[in-house]
Amino acid sequence: MAVNQASGAAFELKGRMATLTVLRLLTADPGHLFIQLDARLAQAPGFFDGMPLVLAPGQDVSLDAAMLETLVAGLRDRGLLPVAAADVSEDIASAAGLGVLRNLGGPRSDASGQTGRSGSGKPVAEARAPENGAARLVTQPVRSGQQVYARGGDLVVSAPVSAGAELMADGHIHVYGTLRGRALAGVQGDVNARIFCQSLEAELVAVAGHYRLSEQIDAGLRGAPAMIRLRGDELGIDAL
C-alpha cells in the first residue's frame, strides 16, 4: 500500500526464477513438426492450452525469420503461447514477436566452440560476457527483503548479507561478510562468473542459472570462506 502518491512506488522490478517449457526444434521443417505436434496435442486435449513456450533450435538446426514466423503462427493457432526464443539473433526473434533468452541451460554444454549452429552466428562467449561496467559497491548490510543488482559488472558487498536478501550481478559477486541470503552471479549467462564470500551460509548460490540450495551445500563448507564457480554444468564450491 502506498503511503502517498509522491513517495509510493507504482511498480517493482524483480528477478524471479521460473520454470518454462522449452520446445526444442529438431527439424527445420515446420510442416513436419506440426504433424507430430498435432498428434501429441490430440493425446491430451486442452492440456497445453495457453502454455508459455520457449523455442530453442536443436543442434544442426538453424532458424531463419520466415521459418520462425511460420512456427509462431502455427503454435498460436494450436493454443500455445510462444514467448521467447533461445539462441537466435534479436532481429529474427523480434520479427516474430518473441524475446531472446541467452542463458538457457540444458544440453549445450559441448563447449567445442561450434558457431553457426544458431542462426545468429554470434559466438556464444561474446554474447555472454558482461560489459565492462564498473563494479557496484555496497557498504551497508543487505537486509532481508532487499535486492541488489549489479548490472553489467561485479558486485562487491563489504557488509553482511541477511537471510532473505538477494544479490545479483552480471559478473562476479564478492561478499566481505557473512553471506546468508541468495547470491546469483552471471545472471545474464556469464559462465565464468564466480561468487566469493568470507563466510558461506547462503540460502542459495547460482552462477549463470545453475543453482544450489543451502541443503545441497556440503556442511563442511558452511561458515567458512568459499568460492563458487561453474565447472562445466556442475556448480562447484571450494573452500578458500
Binding site: S7, Q140, P141, A159, S162
Partner: protein, 268 residues
Amino acid sequence: MARIVVVTSGKGGVGKTTTSAAFGAGLARAGYRTVVVDFDVGLRNLDLIMGCERRVVYDFVNVINGEANLNQALIRDKRVEGLEILPASQTRDKDALTFEGVESVLNALAETHDYVVCDSPAGIERGAHLAMYFADDALVVTNPEVSSVRDSDRVLGLLSSKTRRAEQGEEPVKEHLVVTRYAASRVGKGEMLSMEDICEILSIDLLGVVPESTAVLNASNAGVPVIMEEKTDAGQAYDDLVARYLGEEREHRFLTEKKGLFGRLFKG
C-alpha cells in the same frame, strides 16, 4: 526541535509497546519533555500499559481529522512530570492515518517536546511505515528467536530505504537494538539465540537487553511502565537502556544467568 524515535520490530508481541512506555517514561524522568504516540490504530494498547485508558477522550485520528486539537487529545501522565501520551483510535483502522496528517501532528509535537516516541504497530504495512517514516532514531525490538530476528532484519532494511531521511539522502536513521524476553538460562541450553548470534546477524549497536521477567506482565496489568518498578530486573534493564541512549556508559547486566540458591551451592 524534538528527536523522533520509532519503536519497531516487524513481528508482533515482542515488546514494542512495553518498550515504548518504559523508554518514554525513562526519558521524562531524566527531565526531557516526552510524548509517546500510539500508531497501532484499531489495536490500542499503549494507554493500558501506561495506565491511562480511563482518560482517553480524543485520539490520534481525531486530531488528524481535525475533530479535536492536539492539547485535547494528549494525556498527561500523573506519575512522571513531562510525560504525555497520544492514544490511538480503537474504532478505526490504519487507513485512517494519512501521510499529511501524521506529518503535521508529529511536527506540532516536535515543537513542544524534546522526544517524540512512536510506538509502531506490528507488520510492515501502512501503520508501521508511517510510524517509522519521520524517525530520526529507531529502537528495533527483537526476541531471541529466529523469526523475530529475521523480521527485525527486514525492518532494518526498510529503515534504511523507506524513511524520510533515506528518501531525502540525509544522515540515516540511527538504529539501536533492544533485545527483550532474554533468558540466559535458555540460551545456555541452546533453546534461544545468544546475544552474539543476534548482534552478528543484525549487525547494529546493542542498546539494551531486557531479561524475561514476570515484572513485565505484572507492570502491564497494573498499568505502570515497567521502568518505574525499580526493584525489578526488567525495570533496571530499561533504566540502563535509557541511560545508554542518553549517552551514559553502562555495563550490560542481564547477559548472564543469575544463579539460584542451588546453582550457587553446587556450582560455586
